[in-house]
Protein backbone atom coordinates (compact mmCIF):
# COMPACT_ATOMS: atom_id res chain seq x y z
CA UNK A 1 0.00 0.00 0.00
CA UNK A 2 1.42 3.43 -0.86
CA UNK A 3 1.97 5.91 1.96
CA UNK A 4 -0.74 8.23 0.67
CA UNK A 5 -3.29 5.40 0.38
CA UNK A 6 -2.47 4.34 3.94
CA UNK A 7 -2.91 7.92 5.16
CA UNK A 8 -6.27 8.18 3.40
CA UNK A 9 -7.46 4.91 4.98
CA UNK A 10 -6.28 6.08 8.41
CA UNK A 11 -8.11 9.37 7.83
CA UNK A 12 -11.24 7.46 6.87
CA UNK A 13 -11.06 5.32 10.04
CA UNK A 14 -10.49 8.41 12.18
CA UNK A 15 -13.45 10.14 10.55
CA UNK A 16 -15.72 7.11 10.89
CA UNK A 17 -15.03 6.79 14.64
CA UNK A 18 -16.10 10.43 15.02
CA UNK A 19 -19.07 10.16 12.65
CA UNK A 20 -20.60 6.74 13.40
CA UNK A 21 -22.21 7.48 16.74
CA UNK A 22 -23.44 10.91 15.71
CA UNK A 23 -24.97 9.42 12.56
CA UNK A 24 -26.53 6.19 13.75
CA UNK A 25 -26.87 6.29 17.49
CA UNK A 26 -30.08 5.47 19.18
CA UNK A 27 -29.64 6.61 22.75
CA UNK A 28 -30.69 3.30 24.27
CA UNK A 29 -27.82 1.45 22.54
CA UNK A 30 -25.35 2.86 25.04
CA UNK A 31 -26.13 2.29 28.67
CA UNK A 32 -24.25 3.80 31.60
CA UNK A 33 -22.24 0.63 32.05
CA UNK A 34 -20.74 0.76 28.54
CA UNK A 35 -20.18 4.49 28.90
CA UNK A 36 -18.32 3.90 32.16
CA UNK A 37 -16.00 1.27 30.67
CA UNK A 38 -15.37 3.42 27.58
CA UNK A 39 -14.19 6.25 29.83
CA UNK A 40 -11.13 4.06 30.54
CA UNK A 41 -10.13 3.98 26.86
CA UNK A 42 -7.33 6.60 27.22
CA UNK A 43 -5.92 4.83 30.29
CA UNK A 44 -5.95 1.55 28.38
CA UNK A 45 -4.41 2.76 25.12
CA UNK A 46 -1.88 5.47 25.93
CA UNK A 47 0.32 3.32 28.25
CA UNK A 48 0.76 0.86 25.37
CA UNK A 49 2.57 3.69 23.59
CA UNK A 50 4.26 5.19 26.66
CA UNK A 51 5.80 2.12 28.33
CA UNK A 52 7.60 0.50 25.36
CA UNK A 53 8.97 3.90 24.27
CA UNK A 54 10.52 4.34 27.72
CA UNK A 55 11.62 0.84 28.72
CA UNK A 56 12.76 -0.61 25.39
CA UNK A 57 15.96 0.28 23.52
CA UNK A 58 16.14 0.81 19.77
CA UNK A 59 16.23 -2.92 19.07
CA UNK A 60 13.19 -3.65 21.26
CA UNK A 61 15.10 -5.17 24.20
CA UNK A 62 14.03 -4.23 27.73
CA UNK A 63 16.60 -1.81 29.13
CA UNK A 64 16.29 -1.06 32.83
CA UNK A 65 19.87 -0.02 33.66
CA UNK A 66 21.60 3.03 32.27
CA UNK A 67 18.30 4.31 30.80
CA UNK A 68 17.84 8.09 31.23
CA UNK A 69 14.27 7.90 29.89
CA UNK A 70 13.02 6.12 33.02
CA UNK A 71 14.12 8.85 35.43
CA UNK A 72 12.95 11.59 33.04
CA UNK A 73 9.53 9.92 32.73
CA UNK A 74 9.22 9.62 36.52
CA UNK A 75 10.02 13.33 36.89
CA UNK A 76 7.50 14.21 34.16
CA UNK A 77 4.86 12.03 35.80
CA UNK A 78 5.43 13.63 39.22
CA UNK A 79 5.17 17.08 37.70
CA UNK A 80 2.00 15.95 35.92
CA UNK A 81 0.40 14.58 39.07
CA UNK A 82 1.05 17.76 41.06
CA UNK A 83 0.52 20.41 38.38
CA UNK A 84 -2.09 18.62 36.18
CA UNK A 85 -0.54 20.73 33.46
CA UNK A 86 0.05 19.16 30.06
CA UNK A 87 2.79 21.59 29.00
CA UNK A 88 4.68 21.38 32.31
CA UNK A 89 4.62 17.58 32.08
CA UNK A 90 6.05 17.44 28.57
CA UNK A 91 8.74 20.06 29.14
CA UNK A 92 9.86 18.84 32.57
CA UNK A 93 10.35 15.40 31.02
CA UNK A 94 12.31 16.74 28.04
CA UNK A 95 14.39 19.06 30.22
CA UNK A 96 15.35 16.31 32.67
CA UNK A 97 16.14 13.96 29.78
CA UNK A 98 18.46 16.53 28.25
CA UNK A 99 20.00 17.32 31.64
CA UNK A 100 20.80 13.62 32.14
CA UNK A 101 22.26 12.92 28.69
CA UNK A 102 24.16 16.17 28.18
CA UNK A 103 25.52 16.94 31.65
Amino acid sequence: MSNLALIIYCGLITFLTRFTMIAVLKKEMFNDRIREVLSYVPSAIFPAIIFPAIFLDNSGIIQLEDNPKILAAIIAMSVGIFSRNVLATIFSGLASYWAIIFI
Binding site: L4, L6, I7, Y9, C10, I13, T14, F15, T17, R18, F19, T20, M21, I22, A23, L25, K27, R35, E36, V37, L38, S39, Y40, V41, P42, S43, A44, I45, F46, P47, A48, I49, I50, F51, P52, A53, I54, L56, G60, I61, I62, K69, A73, A76, M77, G80, I81, S83, R84, N85, V86, L87, T89, I90, F91, G93, L94, Y97, W98, I101
Partner: protein
Protein backbone atom coordinates in the same frame (compact mmCIF):
# COMPACT_ATOMS: atom_id res chain seq x y z
CA UNK B 1 -24.13 39.54 14.78
CA UNK B 2 -26.38 36.56 14.15
CA UNK B 3 -26.71 33.61 16.46
CA UNK B 4 -24.57 31.26 14.35
CA UNK B 5 -21.60 33.64 14.35
CA UNK B 6 -21.99 34.16 18.09
CA UNK B 7 -21.80 30.41 18.72
CA UNK B 8 -18.92 30.08 16.27
CA UNK B 9 -16.85 32.81 17.99
CA UNK B 10 -17.66 31.43 21.43
CA UNK B 11 -16.28 28.07 20.26
CA UNK B 12 -13.03 29.71 19.17
CA UNK B 13 -12.77 31.60 22.44
CA UNK B 14 -13.51 28.55 24.62
CA UNK B 15 -10.96 26.29 22.91
CA UNK B 16 -8.16 28.87 22.86
CA UNK B 17 -6.60 28.09 26.27
CA UNK B 18 -6.56 24.42 25.27
CA UNK B 19 -4.51 25.26 22.19
CA UNK B 20 -1.33 25.94 24.18
CA UNK B 21 -0.32 22.26 24.45
CA UNK B 22 -1.39 21.66 20.85
CA UNK B 23 1.38 23.98 19.61
CA UNK B 24 4.36 21.85 20.76
CA UNK B 25 2.42 18.68 19.86
CA UNK B 26 1.96 19.86 16.24
CA UNK B 27 5.57 21.00 15.97
CA UNK B 28 6.82 17.68 17.37
CA UNK B 29 4.67 15.84 14.82
CA UNK B 30 6.12 17.85 11.92
CA UNK B 31 9.70 17.42 13.17
CA UNK B 32 9.28 13.66 13.66
CA UNK B 33 7.64 13.09 10.28
CA UNK B 34 10.56 14.77 8.50
CA UNK B 35 13.03 12.92 10.76
CA UNK B 36 11.46 9.62 9.71
CA UNK B 37 11.84 10.50 6.05
CA UNK B 38 8.31 11.55 5.06
CA UNK B 39 8.09 14.33 2.48
CA UNK B 40 6.67 17.74 3.51
CA UNK B 41 3.64 17.15 1.25
CA UNK B 42 2.89 13.75 2.81
CA UNK B 43 3.26 15.29 6.26
CA UNK B 44 0.79 18.07 5.49
CA UNK B 45 -1.55 15.54 3.86
CA UNK B 46 -1.55 13.58 7.13
CA UNK B 47 -2.50 16.62 9.19
CA UNK B 48 -5.31 17.56 6.79
CA UNK B 49 -6.67 14.07 6.05
CA UNK B 50 -6.31 12.41 9.46
CA UNK B 51 -6.47 15.56 11.65
CA UNK B 52 -5.82 13.75 14.92
CA UNK B 53 -2.66 14.19 16.97
CA UNK B 54 -2.63 10.82 18.72
CA UNK B 55 -3.50 8.94 15.50
CA UNK B 56 -0.79 10.69 13.51
CA UNK B 57 1.94 10.12 16.08
CA UNK B 58 1.04 6.44 16.48
CA UNK B 59 1.07 6.18 12.71
CA UNK B 60 4.65 7.53 12.69
CA UNK B 61 5.73 5.33 15.59
CA UNK B 62 4.47 2.11 13.96
CA UNK B 63 5.48 3.20 10.45
CA UNK B 64 9.08 3.75 11.58
CA UNK B 65 9.07 0.37 13.38
CA UNK B 66 8.15 -1.30 10.10
CA UNK B 67 4.63 -2.36 11.10
CA UNK B 68 2.29 -3.60 8.37
CA UNK B 69 -0.48 -1.41 6.94
CA UNK B 70 -3.10 -3.54 8.64
CA UNK B 71 -1.50 -3.06 12.05
CA UNK B 72 -1.17 0.68 11.52
CA UNK B 73 -4.82 0.91 10.45
CA UNK B 74 -6.11 -1.14 13.37
CA UNK B 75 -3.95 0.73 15.89
CA UNK B 76 -5.20 4.07 14.57
CA UNK B 77 -8.70 2.64 14.90
CA UNK B 78 -8.01 1.55 18.48
CA UNK B 79 -6.63 4.96 19.45
CA UNK B 80 -9.66 6.61 17.89
CA UNK B 81 -12.17 4.43 19.68
CA UNK B 82 -12.53 7.20 22.30
CA UNK B 83 -14.29 9.26 19.61
CA UNK B 84 -17.11 6.73 19.67
CA UNK B 85 -17.72 7.88 23.22
CA UNK B 86 -17.61 11.56 22.23
CA UNK B 87 -20.11 10.89 19.46
CA UNK B 88 -22.33 8.99 21.87
CA UNK B 89 -22.34 11.85 24.34
CA UNK B 90 -22.94 14.55 21.72
CA UNK B 91 -25.43 12.67 19.54
CA UNK B 92 -28.41 13.76 21.61
CA UNK B 93 -27.56 17.40 20.81
CA UNK B 94 -26.79 16.82 17.13
CA UNK B 95 -29.52 14.39 16.12
CA UNK B 96 -31.58 17.09 14.34
CA UNK B 97 -28.81 18.07 11.92
CA UNK B 98 -28.89 16.94 8.30
CA UNK B 99 -26.28 14.53 6.94
CA UNK B 100 -23.99 17.22 5.48
CA UNK B 101 -23.71 19.07 8.79
CA UNK B 102 -23.20 15.81 10.66
CA UNK B 103 -20.25 15.06 8.34
CA UNK B 104 -18.76 18.53 8.84
CA UNK B 105 -19.21 18.43 12.62
CA UNK B 106 -17.66 14.93 12.76
CA UNK B 107 -14.50 16.04 10.94
CA UNK B 108 -13.94 18.69 13.63
CA UNK B 109 -14.71 16.44 16.61
CA UNK B 110 -11.29 16.51 18.29
CA UNK B 111 -10.59 16.11 22.02
CA UNK B 112 -10.37 19.83 22.83
CA UNK B 113 -13.46 20.83 20.83
CA UNK B 114 -15.43 17.98 22.38
CA UNK B 115 -14.43 19.03 25.88
CA UNK B 116 -15.68 22.62 25.59
CA UNK B 117 -18.63 22.06 23.25
CA UNK B 118 -20.07 19.31 25.44
CA UNK B 119 -20.31 21.88 28.26
CA UNK B 120 -21.71 24.52 25.96
CA UNK B 121 -24.37 22.17 24.56
CA UNK B 122 -25.50 21.13 28.02
CA UNK B 123 -25.93 24.80 29.02
CA UNK B 124 -27.70 25.80 25.79
CA UNK B 125 -29.92 22.81 25.05
CA UNK B 126 -32.60 24.84 23.28
CA UNK B 127 -30.34 26.83 20.94
CA UNK B 128 -30.71 25.16 17.53
CA UNK B 129 -27.53 26.84 16.23
CA UNK B 130 -25.37 25.57 19.09
CA UNK B 131 -23.50 23.16 16.80
CA UNK B 132 -21.63 26.18 15.38
CA UNK B 133 -19.80 26.25 18.72
CA UNK B 134 -18.21 22.89 17.88
CA UNK B 135 -17.36 24.05 14.36
CA UNK B 136 -15.69 27.22 15.69
CA UNK B 137 -13.73 25.27 18.29
CA UNK B 138 -12.82 22.55 15.80
CA UNK B 139 -11.71 25.04 13.17
CA UNK B 140 -9.53 26.77 15.78
CA UNK B 141 -7.84 23.43 16.54
CA UNK B 142 -7.57 22.69 12.82
CA UNK B 143 -5.83 25.98 12.03
CA UNK B 144 -3.36 25.65 14.93
CA UNK B 145 -2.67 22.04 13.95
CA UNK B 146 -1.89 22.83 10.30
CA UNK B 147 0.27 25.87 11.11
CA UNK B 148 2.30 24.04 13.76
CA UNK B 149 2.72 21.03 11.44
CA UNK B 150 4.27 23.35 8.86
CA UNK B 151 6.50 24.98 11.50
CA UNK B 152 7.60 21.49 12.54
CA UNK B 153 8.38 20.58 8.93
CA UNK B 154 10.73 23.57 8.70
CA UNK B 155 12.33 22.89 12.07
CA UNK B 156 12.69 19.18 11.23
CA UNK B 157 15.56 19.86 8.86
CA UNK B 158 17.34 22.03 11.47
CA UNK B 159 16.86 20.16 14.76
CA UNK B 160 19.64 17.57 15.29
CA UNK B 161 18.66 13.94 15.83
CA UNK B 162 20.91 13.81 18.90
CA UNK B 163 18.31 15.79 20.89
CA UNK B 164 16.24 12.62 21.10
CA UNK B 165 12.99 14.42 20.32
CA UNK B 166 11.26 11.07 19.75
CA UNK B 167 11.14 10.90 23.55
CA UNK B 168 8.51 13.64 23.30
CA UNK B 169 6.05 10.99 22.04
CA UNK B 170 5.71 9.03 25.30
CA UNK B 171 5.86 12.33 27.21
CA UNK B 172 2.96 13.76 25.24
CA UNK B 173 0.80 10.72 25.94
CA UNK B 174 1.90 10.75 29.55
CA UNK B 175 0.73 14.36 29.73
CA UNK B 176 -2.70 13.39 28.36
CA UNK B 177 -3.11 11.04 31.34
CA UNK B 178 -2.24 13.53 34.12
CA UNK B 179 -5.79 13.50 35.47
CA UNK B 180 -5.90 9.70 35.62
CA UNK B 181 -2.86 9.14 37.83
CA UNK B 182 -4.84 9.94 40.95
CA UNK B 183 -7.57 7.36 40.38
CA UNK B 184 -6.91 3.81 41.54
CA UNK B 185 -8.71 1.93 38.75
CA UNK B 186 -7.04 4.10 36.13
CA UNK B 187 -3.61 3.48 37.63
CA UNK B 188 -4.19 -0.29 37.61
CA UNK B 189 -5.39 -0.15 33.98
CA UNK B 190 -2.35 1.96 33.06
CA UNK B 191 0.09 -0.49 34.67
CA UNK B 192 -1.61 -3.55 33.13
CA UNK B 193 -1.68 -2.09 29.64
CA UNK B 194 1.86 -0.70 29.81
CA UNK B 195 3.34 -3.93 31.14
CA UNK B 196 1.64 -6.08 28.51
CA UNK B 197 2.78 -3.73 25.75
CA UNK B 198 6.40 -3.74 26.99
CA UNK B 199 6.64 -7.50 27.55
CA UNK B 200 4.62 -8.28 24.42
CA UNK B 201 6.51 -5.93 22.11
CA UNK B 202 8.79 -8.72 20.85
CA UNK B 203 6.39 -11.62 21.29
CA UNK B 204 3.05 -10.38 19.93
CA UNK B 205 3.13 -10.69 16.12
CA UNK B 206 2.57 -7.87 13.60
CA UNK B 207 3.33 -5.16 16.19
CA UNK B 208 -0.21 -5.67 17.44
CA UNK B 209 0.95 -5.02 21.01
CA UNK B 210 -0.96 -1.70 21.20
CA UNK B 211 -4.30 -3.35 20.52
CA UNK B 212 -3.53 -6.40 22.67
CA UNK B 213 -2.50 -4.22 25.63
CA UNK B 214 -5.46 -1.84 25.22
CA UNK B 215 -7.95 -4.73 25.06
CA UNK B 216 -6.54 -6.25 28.23
CA UNK B 217 -6.60 -2.84 29.90
CA UNK B 218 -10.27 -2.37 29.02
CA UNK B 219 -11.09 -5.88 30.20
CA UNK B 220 -9.44 -5.07 33.55
CA UNK B 221 -11.43 -1.81 33.69
CA UNK B 222 -14.61 -3.74 32.93
CA UNK B 223 -13.94 -6.23 35.74
CA UNK B 224 -12.73 -3.66 38.29
CA UNK B 225 -15.60 -1.24 37.75
CA UNK B 226 -18.07 -4.08 38.17
CA UNK B 227 -16.31 -5.37 41.28
CA UNK B 228 -15.96 -1.95 42.92
CA UNK B 229 -19.58 -1.09 42.18
CA UNK B 230 -20.77 -4.28 43.86
CA UNK B 231 -18.72 -3.36 46.89
CA UNK B 232 -20.45 -0.04 47.22
CA UNK B 233 -23.98 -1.25 46.59
Amino acid sequence: MNNKSKNFLKGIKDTSPLMIPVVPFGIIFGVLAIDLGLTPMTTIAMSVIIFGGASQIIFLQLFSAGASSLVILSSVGAVNSRHLLYGTVLSEHLSDLNLTWKIIVSYFLVDQAFAVSNNHFNKNKKDKDKYFHLIGGGLNCWTIWQVTTIIGIYLGSIIPEKLGLTFAIPLTFLALLVNDFRKLINVIVIIVSGTIATLGYQIIPFKAYVIAAASMGLLVAFILTKFMKKNYE
